[in-house]
Structures are given as structure tokens and as C-alpha cells.
């Protein structure tokens, strides 16, 4: 029973990591941008949710109705105003987003101090379903996992069933020719960033309910996201989900062996995948 419990926890946690990773994966897929500030933007989303909850007196999930559109607009502006100018080569986007990461952390520190905060979701945090006397599954992790699957399924639909998704894929294939066909690349890239940050907002709220956050929490989240993306295989959304689940599992099992071990176990699993299958589990991009 103990083992079943660990596995279920790991898989459900993996949904959260998949959410981190889906945003990263989307940006990389469309414009080959590795967003080092991704984790910090998750933290920004968490702060936005925190203050929305205070201002409007609503719960964390309701706050998403404000945070998702707000951060999507921020993402669009960020891409058009800054990141579009860094694209084209490999190094500039890395440097620019790294700088952005440092700036975001310090601005958050100035504005909100180093105090750790959490989002309180109320009694649902403690609620669980008891399957057997020994086996109970938390309601919140299940919701989190279902939302993750729904978000990734939604992204998949957008990518393969809509005009916008077609433009995403065309721009990813060949930006010059896409432009010739009347696609405004800068606009498409900005929409991709907006979509990525909308996903980030959902991830940010879930993580902030689960654990406390402070202005310097971002880089750790970024690592989890990277590991999930790379384990899953670049460019494949369902692969990203699988990568997230694998990372969650490794951490849960590691934590079971020793309380201090979960993150190490996650990194070890990541390195093992890199050694055995460097292209990831379900690779799509052949670049």
C-alpha cells in the first residue's frame, strides 16, 4: 500500500511539473527560445494571484480569471517589446532571459520582501478520498493533475486544429517563408508567449497552494520544467506530460527512501534518461 501511495503521489505531482514544462516547450517549439526567466514568471504569477485574492477577497482558483488574462497581456508585451529583438541566434535569447530572471527576482524582492508566502485554498487542501483504510488520495493533487492533462490536451488542440496553431507550426518550420505567406512572425511569437504565460499562471497558482514561495523560488522551478521537457522529448506536448510524470515519480520514490532525497532522485532520473535516451522519450523536433 505504501508503494501504491508513493506512485500515485508521484504521478499527480508530475502533472504540476508538466504544466511548468508545457509553457517552456511551447516557446521553444515555436521560436527556439529557451526562456531562463520561465521559473521567475511562475513566481510572478503566484504573486499576482496572492494580491488578486487579497484585493477581491476570492480564492486562488477564482483569481485565475484575473491572473491568466493579465499575465497573457504581460507576455505579449514582453515578447513584442523585448524578446523579439533577441531572437535569431542561440545566445542572445539566453542572455536576455537570464538578465530578465535576475531583474524579476530583485524587483519582487524590493516590492514584496523576502517573506515566504502561500496561497490558501481553504478546506479543499486537506480533503482526500479514502479508497482503502490505508490508501487516501488528496483531492487537490487530483484536480491539479486533471487540470494539467486538460491544459496539455487544450494546447494540443490549439496546435493541430486551429488557424493559430497552423501559423505556430508554419513559423516554427520556416519563419522567412511564413512571413512571405503573410504571417506576421512578431505577432505570432507574442501570441505564443502569451499562451505560454497563461499556462504559467495556472502552474503558479497550483505550486503556491502546495508550497510556500518567495522571490528567489523561480530557478528551482525552471530546473524542474527543463528536466520534464528534456525527458519527454523536445517539441512533443504529450511527451512533456510523460516527462513531468517521470520526474514526479522519481522525486516521490526518492523522498520515500530518504526525506532529503527527492530532488536528487529527480536529477538522477533526468541524467539516466539523458544517458539512455538523449533525444527524450517522445521526441518530435529533429533539429
Amino acid at each position: 500500500m505504501e508503494l501504491a501511495h508513493v506512485i500515485i503521489q508521484g504521478v499527480l505531482l508530475g502533472g504540476l511539473y508538466a504544466l511548468f514544462a508545457a509553457g517552456l516547450s511551447l516557446i521553444f517549439g515555436v521560436m527556439r527560445l529557451v526562456n531562463i526567466a520561465h521559473g521567475d514568471l511562475i513566481v510572478v504569477a503566484a504573486y499576482m494571484a496572492y494580491f488578486t485574492m487579497q484585493a477581491l477577497g476570492v480564492g486562488p482558483f477564482t483569481s485565475l480569471f484575473v491572473v491568466v488574462p493579465a499575465i497573457a497581456v504581460l507576455g505579449y508585451a514582453l515578447q513584442r517589446g523585448l524578446l523579439n529583438f533577441a531572437l535569431g541566434d542561440e545566445l542572445p535569447p539566453l542572455l536576455v532571459t537570464f538578465g530578465l530572471s535576475v531583474i524579476i527576482q530583485n524587483v519582487l524582492l524590493i516590492l514584496f520582501t523576502h517573506d515566504s508566502r502561500r496561497l490558501y485554498a481553504g478546506p479543499i487542501e486537506m480533503a482526500s478520498w479514502k479508497f482503502t483504510p490505508d490508501l487516501a488520495v488528496g483531492v487537490l493533487p487530483v484536480i491539479q493533475f486533471v487540470v494539467a492533462v486538460a491544459v496539455i490536451g487544450g494546447l494540443q488542440l490549439v496546435f493541430y486544429r486551429t488557424t493559430l496553431g497552423r501559423a505556430f507550426r508554419a513559423t516554427s518550420d520556416d519563419p522567412d517563408i511564413a512571413q512571405l505567406m503573410g504571417i506576421e512572425n512578431r505577432h505570432i511569437f507574442a501570441l505564443a508567449m502569451a499562451l505560454s504565460l497563461a499556462v504559467v499562471a495556472v502552474a503558479g497558482v497550483f505550486i503556491a497552494i502546495r508550497t510556500t514561495f518567495n522571490p528567489f523560488y523561480g530557478p528551482q522551478l525552471l530546473i524542474f520544467g527543463f528536466e520534464a521537457v528534456i525527458m519527454g522529448g523536445l517539441g512533443s506536448l504529450w511527451g512533456t506530460l510523460a516527462g513531468g510524470v517521470l520526474l514526479g515519480l522519481a522525486q516521490a520514490i526518492g523522498g520515500q527512501i530518504n526525506v532529503g532525497l527527492p530532488f536528487t532522485a529527480g536529477h538522477v532520473a533526468f541524467l539516466l534518461v539523458l544517458i539512455v535516451r538523449p533525444q527524450g522519450l517522445f521526441p518530435k523536433v529533429s533539429v
Binding site: 507550426r169 508554419a170 518550420d173 505567406m181
Partner: protein, 151 residues
């Protein structure tokens, strides 16, 4: 615009490639339906990945994609590049249909026989300068040869 080397969107299907061309919604004679009538072999392959097509079929997609924007002027760069002569002839045979819809076509082509047969007016360029020009029917192959090689 039909770029040299076709440059289709590799992760899109045939139909998606064509639709991308038409997404600006400029009105005109060319619709997905009409393009697939012009190149019937694409109709059977519309949901295949564009990379799974032969070179000639890919060239048809590239032309179709350009037509979908209903251009006043269709620019074709090196249609024959890397294609079998029979396929090149097949593609050139569709050009009159395109012109008949009121679209002007400019073809950059190294295959002089095809170029002469398909065009109404011809320019020979060398290093950016026009060496020879005239109605295609008035120019002999000897004159073109002389213009390029000076013999």
C-alpha cells in the same frame, strides 16, 4: 511567390500548406477547391505530410500555396530545380490555366526549351544585365545560344 527549392512547411500537411497561402483571405479565382482541381494528384494526398510527397508534387504544393493568395503576379523561381524532365513538362503545362485566370506569371528558368514554350515574352539575363529580350515566338534557340556564349 514560389521560392526556389519549394520550401514547404515540413510539419504541415498538404492541405495545411495550401491553406496557409490563402489565410490572408484576398478574394479572387483561386480557392482550395480550384487548386486541387488544377493539381488533382494533390487532392488524394491532401492530409499527408508535405515531406512525404515527391519533388514534383511538392512543387505543385508550392505553386498552389502561392496561388491561394490570389496574387496579381505569380513569381516562380526555378520550378525545374531537381525535378525529372517529364515532371517539369507536366507542371509547365498547367501554367496556361493559371494565366487564363488573369494572373501574370514570371518564371525564372534555366530550361530554355520549357521557358520558350511556356512564355510569351523572354529576357535573357547574365550577371544582372539583359542580353536579349523579345516575344518568345520571335526568338530562336540559336539567338539565345549566341547571346549567352557569343558563338
Amino acid at each position: 511567390m514560389v521560392p526556389e527549392g519549394r520550401r514547404l512547411f515540413s510539419s504541415l500537411t498538404v492541405e495545411e500548406n495550401l491553406r496557409i497561402g490563402g489565410q490572408l483571405g484576398r478574394p479572387g479565382p483561386w480557392t482550395l477547391q480550384r487548386v486541387l482541381e488544377l493539381f488533382p494528384m494533390l487532392a488524394e494526398r491532401r492530409s499527408q505530410a508535405s515531406t512525404s510527397l515527391s519533388g514534383g508534387q511538392q512543387q505543385m504544393v508550392a505553386i498552389g500555396r502561392a496561388l491561394m493568395s490570389n496574387p496579381r503576379l505569380l513569381l516562380c523561381d526555378e520550378i525545374s530545380l531537381g525535378l525529372a524532365p517529364i515532371v517539369v513538362r507536366d507542371i509547365f503545362q498547367r501554367l496556361p490555366t493559371i494565366v487564363a485566370e488573369g494572373t501574370a506569371v514570371v518564371v525564372v528558368e534555366q530550361d530554355v526549351v520549357q521557358a520558350l514554350a511556356a512564355s510569351t515574352y523572354l529576357y535573357c539575363l547574365q550577371e544582372g544585365r539583359v542580353l536579349l529580350e523579345g516575344a518568345s515566338s520571335s526568338l530562336s534557340r540559336e539567338a539565345i545560344k549566341a547571346a549567352y556564349f557569343g558563338v
